[in-house]
């Protein structure tokens, strides 16, 4: 668990605090998104966790220990760090980049080598093809995968990610987000993720901290942020179309009506659209618009129809969260 207690950061010669009286608690194994406009103090907040920036006052605790009392190198080796454009070392191969932290940790050669393969597999890059490539031979998305692999190399419990997908084109970015969430399901790291993109925050976050002028204006779940923006700043930041964004957070599997075997039999062969359990309610709505029907079926991994989702059901779900816009 990471905990900020009344953390203040004022850069020398500045008239205002870059981070002002910040209190924040990040649960182990969750993703906390820091979101807000440029210059609101996201990067400063993040860099105080690995001591790249020292707070002017206040304390930061990791697992109950004040990081001031922890050796800087030891602390940093236990925190994966990914920045925009990845910060990959251009003179090292992909393998050498990934080997940096294990090397600093003093691992044996063959342990490092098998770790490189394992991580490249995890981020879906063929180890044989990519180990010996230099970063400038990679596409933006591939670089980012290597960046993720490198940050995970020492198996740190915590990851800091500063706009990691910010430089990617929208399609690659969406794919990286999906894959990163898939990886996180396996590894369950405590992640602090900085972004200025609210859509990304809503999609990726377990909790979202909205920052404005160095202060947290709202700290809650994505659903809560969408349904109950705490003040006009947050509403403006998340923009309109909240209902659509909320639909994108609901999974068909969670909100469908389960069908009895008899009903399933009846449904068989009907021409309605079918979606998987993990599809979002937004996908469901879009499918209804495409087929012109007011309901769709939901199937499990074995492609057996297990449930149904109808339009009234979606409406009720959205209204339950008190959306007006």
């Amino acid at each position: 668990m990471i905990r900020f207690e009344n953390v203040v950061k004022r850069y020398p010669g500045e008239a205002t605090d870059a981070v002002h009286n910040l209190n924040l608690e990040i649960e182990s194994g969750t993703i906390c998104m820091l979101v807000g406009p440029s210059g609101c103090g996201k990067t400063t907040t993040m860099k105080m966790i690995n001591k790249l920036i020292r707070p002017s006052s206040g304390a930061i605790l990791i697992g109950g220990r004040n990081i001031d009392t922890v050796d800087t190198i030891e602390l940093r080796l236990s925190i994966g760090y990914i920045i925009q454009d990845t910060g990959l070392f251009p003179h090292m191969t992909v393998g050498e980049n990934i080997a940096v932290v294990p090397g600093e940790l003093g691992w044996k050669k063959d342990r490092i080598s098998s770790r490189i393969d394992e991580l490249l597999d995890l981020v879906d890059l063929n180890p044989k093809a990519f180990r010996n490539k230099k970063p400038n031979e990679l596409s933006g998305g591939q670089k980012q995968r290597v960046g993720v692999a490198r940050a995970l190399a020492g198996d740190p419990p915590i990851m800091l990610m500063d706009e990691p997908f910010g430089a990617l084109d929208p399609i690659t970015r969406a794919r990286m987000q999906d894959e990163f969430l898939r990886i996180q399901e396996k590894i369950r790291k405590t992640i602090v993720f900085v972004t200025h993109d609210v859509e990304e925050a809503i999609k990726m976050g377990d909790t979202i901290a909205v920052l404005k002028l160095g202060q947290i204006v709202q700290l809650s779940s994505p659903m809560e942020i969408l349904s109950n923006p705490s003040d006009p700043f947050v509403s403006e930041l998340i923009g309109g179309r909240n209902s659509l964004k909320m639909l994108s957070l609901m999974r068909c599997g969670q909100i469908m009506k389960t069908l009895s075997p008899a009903e399933v039999e009846e449904a068989r062969g009907s021409p309605q659209g079918i979606l998987g359990m993990k599809a979002t309610a937004q996908d469901a709505l879009s499918e209804m618009l495409r087929t012109g029907e007011r309901f769709i079926f939901v199937e499990d991994e074995r492609h057996d129809v297990v449930g149904v989702l109808d339009f009234e059901n979606l409406l009720e779900r959205v209204n339950r969260h008190g959306i007006t816009s």
């Binding site: 760090y81 910060g87 003179h91």
Partner: protein, 236 residues
């Protein structure tokens, strides 16, 4: 990949030098030239020249590179422009004056020559080292620190390799210049190819003069090609 062309060119230039020497030794204008230019003597002068250049360039590398590294550390950063200006000023003093001055301190021989040559070799290496380190993206070094690399590891495993080709370019310039300037060593008894030029001039024998001038030029061209190859190899 370094192309095969530059090793070939180096061999070609070397052969020209050998052929010229052979031509003068085997077909001397007269007995004076025959006595002055022998294989032994040319080889000896060549080695001396090599020594002058090698010693001064090595001295310049071991002083300039650490100085350049020091002047790109956060604490000493503000000193960089001043030090660079000072070295620049030294550079503008005519080389003959520096040679004469160092003779005043150290007497004649190869030592004052090496000191003078060293001063000239400092600037290109120092300025390139500074630029090489300044060009390393701060985001990359910050990532390195953030990952948990110790400061000296960041320096040697990240910054130095990234600045290497720039530093090599500075060494290349320094060595090429020094090969030419080392001719001046002959004026203070430091030896080298300058001896042939002075002798050829004193006795007005064109053969000797031409050989004395051509060999350092060929050496400089060969060194340039050689270090160009290393510089390219250091590029990531």
């Amino acid at each position: 990949m370094v192309s095969l062309r530059s090793p070939l060119k180096i061999v070609l230039l070397g052969s020209i030098g050998v052929l010229m020497t052979v031509w003068v030794v085997e077909n001397p204008q007269d007995s004076v030239v025959a006595r002055l230019v022998t294989y032994d003597k040319v080889w000896g002068l060549l080695l001396q020249h090599f020594y002058l250049v090698g010693a001064s360039a090595l001295l310049a590398v071991v002083t300039s590179v650490p100085l350049g590294i020091a002047l790109t550390r956060p604490r000493l950063k503000s000193w960089a422009p001043r030090v660079l200006a000072l070295v620049n000023v030294c550079q503008t003093v005519p080389s003959l004056a520096v040679v004469a001055l160092s003779v005043g301190f150290m007497g004649v021989g190869s030592r004052p020559a090496i000191i003078a040559l060293w001063i000239y070799a400092l600037l290109p290496i120092l300025s390139n080292t500074l630029v090489g380190f300044q060009e390393v993206d701060p985001a990359i070094t910050e990532a390195a620190h953030g990952m948990g690399m110790k400061a000296w590891r960041v320096l040697f495993r990240v910054e130095l390799p990234m600045a290497a080709s720039m530093i090599m370019a500075g060494i290349r310039t320094a060595v090429t210049i020094t090969i030419g300037s080392a001719i001046l060593a002959a004026f203070v008894g430091g030896g080298g190819m300058g001896n042939l030029i002075i002798a050829g001039n004193n006795i007005s024998r064109a053969q000797v003069l031409v050989l004395g001038a051509a060999l350092p030029v060929l050496m400089a061209l060969m060194a340039d090609l050689f270090f160009e190859g290393i510089e390219k190899r250091a590029k990531y």
